[in-house]
Amino acid sequence: MLARQLTIPLPFVGWRVSALGLLSLMLLLALLMAVSIGAVYIPLSSILVGVLSDQQLAVMTSIRLPRVLLSAIVGAALAVSGAAMQSLFRNPLADPGVIGIASGAALAVAIVIVLAGPLTGVLALYSLSLAAFSGGLVTCLLIFRFTGMSGTFSATYMLLAGIAINTVSGAATGFLTYLSDDQQLRALTFWTMGSFGGALWPAVLVCATVVLPATLLLFRYARNLNILLLGDENARHLGVDSKGLQRRVIICTALTVGAAVAVSGIIGFVGLVVPHLIRLTIGPDNRILLPASALLGALLLVFADTVARTIVAPAELPVGILTSLIGGPFFLWLLIKQYAGRMGM
């Protein structure tokens, strides 16, 4: 029956694997660059040789290294969960922000800043992180309840529930902003803009212990996420328990985004832009898309944070502003391109 020549484009063809390798190499270079640049001058050569003054060593171990690592982890977490969300909703415009995880986290943080009394001890330092994390998780549980009530686990219901939750928590945060005094207002605003300025080793460890397992789990779901793109019913016909898969992916995403938002505040558009770039250049297969997004997301945030903390040194820009400045126009360009494509332009 098949007289024609066969070509074998397996999903893991050579050049795609090379692309992953290239991204890893670039990430490594970005990490090296990031640890050698900062307000305190530490030449790369002395880092590589390991000859540092006491002051340089202190800067390196207690400030710069945790910060660079944290930006890499958060970048990877945001990009991977963005990519997973997009497959889940079969919508390239989906983003952890869309289903309300980020705004739920922001509301919880606003509640702690404006309403909760001052906390003491370890709690004081981590109260905002804890709030952000639990806000994200509670939002997820709410969305579950809403979508569960409709009987079927439909992406449309989830998207609508996400919009409703975004609106309500946005309004509630707005109301708290209205109630807040000068001090609280500033705390709230700067938290929303996202920054890695607060990076400490405990934050790195906590974030890594949540993000790494959840990300690896998402990698395992990659093939079934591809199948899910055919539709819930078709995926079931192909042996994929769509409902269970969707639930597991949501939980993993909530965990990763919650952990990321908890340590860095809201950093927008990474989850949207990074998977798109990978799809455009390497392809949409989740088995490549997810790891490649993790690498590029880490690369992007390590780079962006290095810019954020050096460009106006000794002051620094909130990194969320930088990513949104780049991500916003990119998003618009994407919309215009899609529209043009649909109109045959």
């Binding site: 400030i63 001090q183 500033r186 300025g197 050096t310 040194a313 620094e316």
Partner: protein, 284 residues
Amino acid sequence: MTPIRIIILSLAGLLWANTATAAPQRVVAIGGALTEIIYALGAQEVLVGNDTTSYYPPAAEDLPKVGYQRALSAEGILSLAPDLVILSDEAGPPAVLEQLSSAGVSILKVKAGRSLSDVKSTIQTIAQAIDTQAINPGQSAALIDHINAQTLALEDAIAQQASPKRVLFVLQHSGGAPMVAGKNTSADSIIALSGAHNVVTAYSGYKPLTPEAVMALHPEIILVTSQGLEQAGSAAAIFKIPGLALTPASKTGGVIAMDALLLLGFGPRTAQAAQQLNQRYQEF
């Protein structure tokens, strides 16, 4: 006060009474320092309202509040039927001020203070506008004399110091890099006034300071508002902010907290605040 000066002042008073309408009877003060000045002048009986930043002296808390000074609403103010609204150039939004004037309310706008001479001229302007001479004669002059005396004592203390302390003012910290006062801020002014040196000279205004720079600037004392300290939890929590742990201040536990209005308000207690700061620097 010499008889001649009394005559001149009374003439000035007459002139004021002639050119302006009668002294205002219902005054709304917007801004903590301005409210404080009116109390210090003993003219609080004309006050019918103030804003949320007016919390000193404690009696000021009991007056009706017209909201936050940067987000005023015209109707709230008009409902108090004021014949004079005193506010600083920080108050707004501008459209609301416009609405107030078109509703026929007189507005006295004074410069937000950054120095003791600003404070003294604001005291005089307010004293004149609400005619405190009629209510509490001589009080404005006495207040200014008091401030001058405090200033002299402060200058003496500073002159006897060896070298100025290196101070870092942390406005607040909410997870990211700490917000720190640069030049042209009221924190910068009060640090200078108290005979110390603000370590941040590279930029103006309040900006997040990158943690590495916090360390590199070697601050000996971390200055915070008590409100900011309360939000952080404790002085120990302040040193958990990245970079601060590596400063000289961390070794001596050098944190000084002071009420925001007292520290940054540039009102009648500013000379006193600077004196207090100067004394507390010696602890570290």
